[in-house]
Amino acid sequence: MKRFAARMGPIGIVAVVIVAIVVFGAVLAPLIAPYDPTIGSVTQRYLGPSLEHLLGTDQAGRDIFSRLLWGARSSLVGPLIVVSITAVVGTALALTSVWWGGFVDSAISRVLDLLFAFPNLLLAVLAISVFGASLTTAAIALSIAYIPYTARVIRSTALRERNLPYIRSPQLQGISGLVITARHLLPNVAPLIVTGATINFGFAMIELAALSFLGLGVQPPDADWGLMVSSGQQSLISGYPAESILAGLCIVITVASLGYIGERLGGRSAAGRKA
């Protein structure tokens, strides 16, 4: 714990606390949210912050604070799906291609190259046009778009490890490739997977929010930060900026915290990744 704190530094600890608060808010939303996030009241539209409505209400008279809490759920679950699929599939592809090399390696590389040719958001939009707009479709499509990046990073590290004695000698002893890969290779690329996942989480959150903003992700009246930025746009133009601004700030603060944590974990800048 102390080592972790030292590694994070003071700003990093603040970032960890912020992420923890967001996670707790999302998990406990049904218990702590004072109002139903989808039910509003026509007489309660555009209220300012008060004790009754901590952050005021939106154009449908719904409590913004409750919507932000519930919105944290889809805003976190989406990236979680993306990061899990990407980490599992990306690592499996990378380790498979490193272990077998040769034809398997070049076949996997060609497929990844093809995926590289599609900008992330375009791939997601295409998948949505085929399977319909929903958070699940958007998240799965985005994970496919992220796999090549993860796979490439892990492959290049695993490739270096592949020829070291601790991998070669069990192989000579006739231990199966699966066991060696799982027992020896995987633990040595694991830190890389964790760092990559932390940084990807932030990017996935932004891109999923963008899809919801376009009306292609989470569907109204469900609460989602990206969707709230979008649905608050009309109110913002008419002079009630609370909904959009607060939802947007939630995204910015969470993503910035995750980026900082990832950077501290891996020494790799969150910035140094493809947009």
Binding site: L122, S129, I206, A210, G215, Q233, G248, I253, G272, A275
Partner: protein, 312 residues
């Protein structure tokens, strides 16, 4: 040789991705003719006629081949929703998107590299501000930046128009200034960060220290040794981000309701107008590939060590 090989690879990728996109659309649930009749009850004969008109009964590979050969001749087929040739629709939308991406690219290069260099060469308040700004800036989604800029400069101060893409050259730039800024902001933050780090590393490198020790004036050390060498990693990241603008542009177009390719794509996806979706997808993949190719060529020009034997 390098150029030829990369061009061939691009053609291969384009072919493979058009096949991928076409088969995805082909496999999509829901048939186009049901969309065309929009729930009205029609006789089987009418349905058959529609299927005939759009050649929906041909085998998959025949349809793919026909579509591909038509696309190569510049014919992208007909939009299902408004019966216009897709090519015309795209041609009308392309200038807005191109201008937007170009403006954003310029902002990224100038603002990102400029601030990065300024923060890198001297410690001080500016450095702290740039560091903080870039750590937060990369986390600002483009659509949120769009909304903030719109509410401050269009709604609040009234300096810029809220919607629309404008007529004529200058009017267009004036209309696209805020969207381009919103689109460029996160990337500019990243570029500034990378530039700052690169400059600092280069400043402490032996050749710079040695040059200073030799008595070379600070300004020349900075120009010849520090900035020039630090531009290598920076040029890669700038290229990657400019290529990324292609996909990012449609979020910003949507936020500002600009009549670009992005809004057309989002609308076509919602209406399941596959002819339009396919065409835009292929064009975006091609644009993405071409920019990436140009970046690699530029990279090779800056650093001759990047040999032809290097596998990406």
């Amino acid at each position: 040789m390098f150029v030829v090989r990369r061009l061939l690879a691009l053609v291969g990728v384009l072919f493979a991705s058009s096949f991928l996109v076409f088969s995805a659309m082909y496999a999509a649930p829901g048939s186009p003719e049901n969309f065309l009749v929009q729930g009205r009850t029609v006789t089987p004969e009418v349905l058959a006629a529609i299927r005939e008109q759009y050649s929906l009964d041909d085998p998959f590979f025949v349809r793919f081949w026909n579509w591909l050969t038509n696309v190569l001749q510049g014919d992208f087929g007909q939009s299902l929703t408004n019966r216009q040739p897709v090519g015309e629709l795209l041609a009308a939308r392309l200038p807005t998107t191109l201008t937007l991406v170009l403006l954003a690219a310029i902002i990224i290069a100038v603002l990102g590299i400029g601030l990065g260099i300024a923060a890198g060469v001297r410690d001080g308040i500016l450095d702290k501000v740039v560091l903080l700004g870039s750590s937060l800036g990369f986390a600002v989604p483009t659509f949120f930046a769009a909304l903030l800029l719109m509410s401050i400069f269009s709604v609040g101060l009234g300096w810029f128009p809220v919607f629309g893409s404008g007529e004529g050259f200058f009017d267009r730039i004036w209309h696209l200034a805020l969207p381009a800024l919103a689109l460029a902001l996160p990337s500019a933050a990243v570029v500034a960060r990378i530039t700052r780090t690169a400059i600092r590393e280069e400043r402490d490198s032996e050749h710079s220290v040695m040059a200073t020790a030799r008595g070379v004036p600070a300004r020349i050390v900075l120009k010849r040794h520090v900035v020039r060498n630090s531009m290598l990693p920076v040029s890669t990241i700038v290229g990657v981000h400019i290529a990324g603008l292609i996909a990012g542009s449609f979020v910003v177009e949507y936020a500002f309701t600009l009549d670009g390719l992005g809004t057309l794509l989002v609308g076509a996806v919602q209406r399941k107008d596959f002819a339009v979706v396919q065409a835009i997808a292929i064009i975006l993949v091609a644009g993405f590939g071409i920019i990436n190719l140009l970046v690699d060529l530029l990279y090779k020009a800056i650093d001759p060590r990047v040999g032809t034997k290097q596998e990406s």
